[in-house]
């Protein structure tokens, strides 16, 4: 099976420029195969669509890779649970990356990278911070959170069972504490609270990591002028032993403003300040995974609430 990549993250290009690499399949879902090559290379091979991970390689339609037609297609990264293993891959299978190709399972599936569009996952940075009608912006975002089907522990006020209740309680405490310390400019305290969210909750990207990705992404984009985002990054210590591998690479990207595409789209829409694109971006983001998109949105809202209270927004 020979497949053509449609889109590749610039991070993947950078890593592959260092020469041939070998690794193995880390995890397989209905629409994604995650691959770990050594300690620094991570590849998320997605079915056709949007890059959902900073280290994404999105496959093109045709050659059996179309989700609709392919018997192994369907679902998406970060949580969809449709049946089937994408590309027919299995965990631990060998992967070789060389000469502009990714060979899975000793060449059983080959992904050609040449000719693919390069996607830059880094969001921009606004020197002057966020400008616009702060109340209006937040109201538009909060509309997305007030709607139905919110299962994120960062948004939910009640849980059934002791463990779920403890998780929700902890998440809400983190959300409130982080907003408070950021508002007061207590960067080291904010970093300590962020640290306590790493790896928290269920999922292959735990809720706490998704929430942090949203918060860090927003801070990267809007707090550049104050230097607070860079300060926070210096205080934060995120190691691969703290969370799942796929989540570790996502968080590592988020620290530097490298984000899943639906999240960077939302931040871009917020920077423009127009309600229509913001609403559409919220709709796309909350579709991500079971709660991943919701958790990221909660992180963005947490940042904006703190920034507004701190007077960073006009």
């Amino acid at each position: 099976m020979i497949l053509q990549a449609q889109t590749i993250s610039s991070l993947v290009c950078d890593e592959l420029n260092h020469g041939p690499a070998s690794g193995s399949v880390h995890s397989v879902f209905a629409g994604t195969v995650n691959i770990a090559c050594g300690r620094s290379i991570w590849l998320s091979l997605h079915a056709p669509g949007t890059p959902l991970h900073p280290y994404a390689v999105v496959l093109g339609k045709g050659a059996g890779s179309n989700r609709e037609e392919c018997p192994t297609g369907g679902g998406a990264f970060l949580g969809a649970s449709a049946g089937g293993a994408f590309l027919g891959a299995s965990r631990g299978e060998r992967v070789d990356v060389e000469g502009g190709e990714i060979a899975v399972g000793g060449g059983r599936a080959i992904i050609r990278l040449a000719g693919a569009e390069v996607w830059r996952p880094e969001v921009g940075r606004l020197d002057a911070g966020l400008r616009g009608d702060a109340d209006g912006l937040l109201e538009t975002l909060l509309e997305g959170l007030r709607n139905d089907d919110m299962a994120s522990p960062f948004l939910n006020a009640s849980g059934t069972g002791e463990v779920e209740s403890a998780l929700i309680h902890k998440c809400l405490r983190i959300r409130a504490g982080l907003a408070r310390s950021w508002r007061r400019g207590e960067v080291s305290e904010a970093a300590r609270i962020m640290q306590s969210a790493v790896g928290l909750g269920s999922g292959l990207t735990p809720s706490g990591d998704d929430f942090l990705t949203g918060f860090l992404g927003a801070a990267h984009m809007f707090a550049y002028g104050s230097g607070a985002a860079d300060d926070a990054r210096r205080h934060l210590c995120i190691e691969r032993s703290m969370t799942t591998l796929t989540s570790y690479f996502m968080l590592r990207g988020a620290l530097h403003g490298l984000l899943p595409e639906p999240l960077s789209s939302l931040l871009g829409a917020i920077a423009c300040g127009r309600p229509g694109p913001i609403r559409r971006s919220v709709e796309r983001l909350v579709r991500l995974g079971s709660t991943s998109g919701q958790d990221m949105l909660a992180g963005v809202v947490c940042y904006l609430e703190a920034a507004r209270a701190a007077g960073e927004m006009e």
């Binding site: 209905a30 449709a82 293993a85 306590s196 032993s241």
Partner: protein, 513 residues
């Protein structure tokens, strides 16, 4: 007992993990369960919840952690078995590949002959999918709620222009050509057609009809807002016209909250010109005499009996006081409030919004002021719907209770927790609850309530506790088994009424004693 088990180098996606945690948490004798990746933070969370972190020693974030808090070893093992079966057999990476249709376009391509699309996606996406379906020339049923009214107006205008029905948004129940959609009961085919702006209202009427031996031709849901001035009763009118021209429909039933004035006039005008016997129930309306071919039901059960009488050309017979006495007599030695507890208030816990409304309308005449979380004329609005005050009736299907969890007709966890709370409140005289059966509903709602009642009665053996009255909506052919549900509830000491109206009459009697 609280135990943590580690599955080395295992992983599942978030959707599967949440589903498995929920399934295990609902197993008998299980207080709480969490299946998550074994990150340090999650291990710490379990420690805070009283688990022993030593159980997770040596685990890494890429291992799966199964934490179960169970009453005893047997319950723990049973729950662990549930988790293992779910992990092994549930949808996920370990399952064999299957062909899956992921989009509406794909489904239409696969089966172009399908003429109705059922939409159940988060509300914000429903209008997009509905518009696609209408564009493809399909009728639409929108189960989703939280769809803006301006979208509903637009979609219904599109549908009307193309001669396509738009049932919903927030349309919980329909039966088209004998096929139940959403929450629908197993009812026989027959000659009564129903147009309904209320899901549980339609279930109550169709179930009572079925138990009277009368079947349904079609049940067309419209969504609760259809009869508002904004929407203009578009689907109600189209549904009504469809039933008027349907040769298999001999009697028409219209179920709705009180419509906007002009909309109501149009509906009654159409019904009056239909040439068929019609029975109308507008929630909360005062008793109204027959107008030509239109009879007005005072309650949902009344509406069903009127329709049955018209369909069979039989006699209409209202419920008698004897039915109430017989039920109380059958309840026998149930320790009723009047004989022991100091409680004096009604606590109504409903999953069905229309059944809750009907209970308030029936009971407020007898009980006086009732506080609710529904905006109804002549009632007080609860400031905190999670806490009862005086006579209280709560619609647990309201958004405030369903955010992040399934509707109480599917997931009764909050309803059960609330039952325990009301049962233990010394001010409670009677707990009134609905149990709604049918496709799509919880598979053992009566059994879950019965088991909790038995536990509560054991725990409070020294006090009589409040009476528990159940309004049981369903048919003998429903997958949950009407007789079995009734039997289990009665064995646990509940008084079970076959209609909401009868349940309310029982409450009047009990509180009045």
């Amino acid at each position: 007992m609280k135990k943590v088990l580690i599955e080395k180098s295992a992983y599942l996606d978030s959707v599967s993990l949440m589903r498995i945690s929920k399934t295990a948490g609902e197993a008998a004798g299980v207080m709480s369960a969490m299946v998550a990746m074994a990150t340090d933070t999650n291990v710490l969370l379990l420690k805070e919840a009283g688990f022993d972190p030593a159980d997770a020693a040596g685990a890494t974030p890429n291992d799966l952690m199964i934490a179960i808090d169970a009453e005893d070893e047997a319950s723990y093992e049973a729950a662990l078995g549930v988790v293992r079966r779910e992990i092994e057999g549930g949808p996920g990476p370990r399952q064999e590949a299957e062909f899956a249709i992921n989009t509406l376009e794909g489904a239409i391509r696969e089966r172009p002959d399908i003429n109705l699309v059922f939409i159940s996606v988060p509300g914000r996406f429903a209008a997009i999918e509905a518009e696609r379906a209408l564009g493809a020339g399909k009728h639409v049923m929108i189960f989703s709620d939280n769809v803006p009214v301006e979208d509903e107006v637009r979609l219904k205008a599109l549908g009307r222009a193309g001669g396509l029905l738009v049932m919903g948004p927030d349309c919980g129940t329909a039966i088209i050509g004998g096929v139940g959609l959403g929450f629908a009961n197993a009812v026989p085919r027959g000659n009564v057609g129903i147009v309904s702006a209320s899901g549980t209202g339609a279930q109550e009427v169709s179930s009572v009809l079925a138990r009277l031996g009368v079947g349904i031709s079609h049940l067309i849901g419209t969504g609760g807002r259809d009869v508002s001035g904004d929407v203009g009763g578009v689907t109600t009118a189209m549904g009504l016209k469809a039933l008027i021209s349907d040769g298999g429909t001999g009697v028409i039933v219209i179920i709705s909250k009180v419509p906007d004035g002009a909309v109501g006039d149009e509906i009654l005008g159409l019904a009056g010109r239909s040439g068929k016997p019609c029975v109308v129930w507008f929630a909360g309306q005062d008793a109204r005499p027959r107008e030509g071919n239109i009879a007005f039901g005072g309650t949902l059960a009344d509406t069903a009996r009127l329709a049955a009488a018209a369909a069979t050309q039989g006699e209409f017979s209202p419920p008698s006081a004897g039915e109430v006495s017989a039920l109380l007599e059958k309840a026998g030695d149930i320790p009723l409030t009047a004989s022991g507890s100091a409680g004096k208030y009604l606590r109504g816990l409903f999953g069905g919004g229309t059944l809750a409304q009907e209970a308030v309308f029936i009971l407020k005449e007898h009980l006086g002021e009732i506080d609710t979380n529904m905006k109804l004329p002549g009632t007080g609005l609860l400031t905190d719907p999670s806490a009862s005050a005086g006579h209280t009736v709560v619609d647990l299907g309201d958004d405030a209770f369903t955010r992040g969890r399934a509707h109480p007709m599917i997931d009764q966890s909050y309803k059960l927790a609330r039952l325990a709370k009301e049962f233990e409140d010394p001010e409670t005289a009677v707990v009134l609850m609905d149990v709604v059966l049918g496709y799509g509903c919880n598979m053992d709602p009566g059994g879950e309530i019965a088991r909790l009642l038995i536990d509560l009665k054991e725990k409070h053996a020294e006090s009589p506790g409040p009476a528990v009255v159940i309004s049981l909506c369903g048919t003998h052919d429903d997958p949950q088994g009407y007789a079995r549900q009734k039997r289990e509830l009665e064995a646990a000491g509940a008084i079970v009424a076959g209609t909401n109206e009868l349940a309310c009459m029982l409450v009047e009697k009990l509180i009045g004693e």
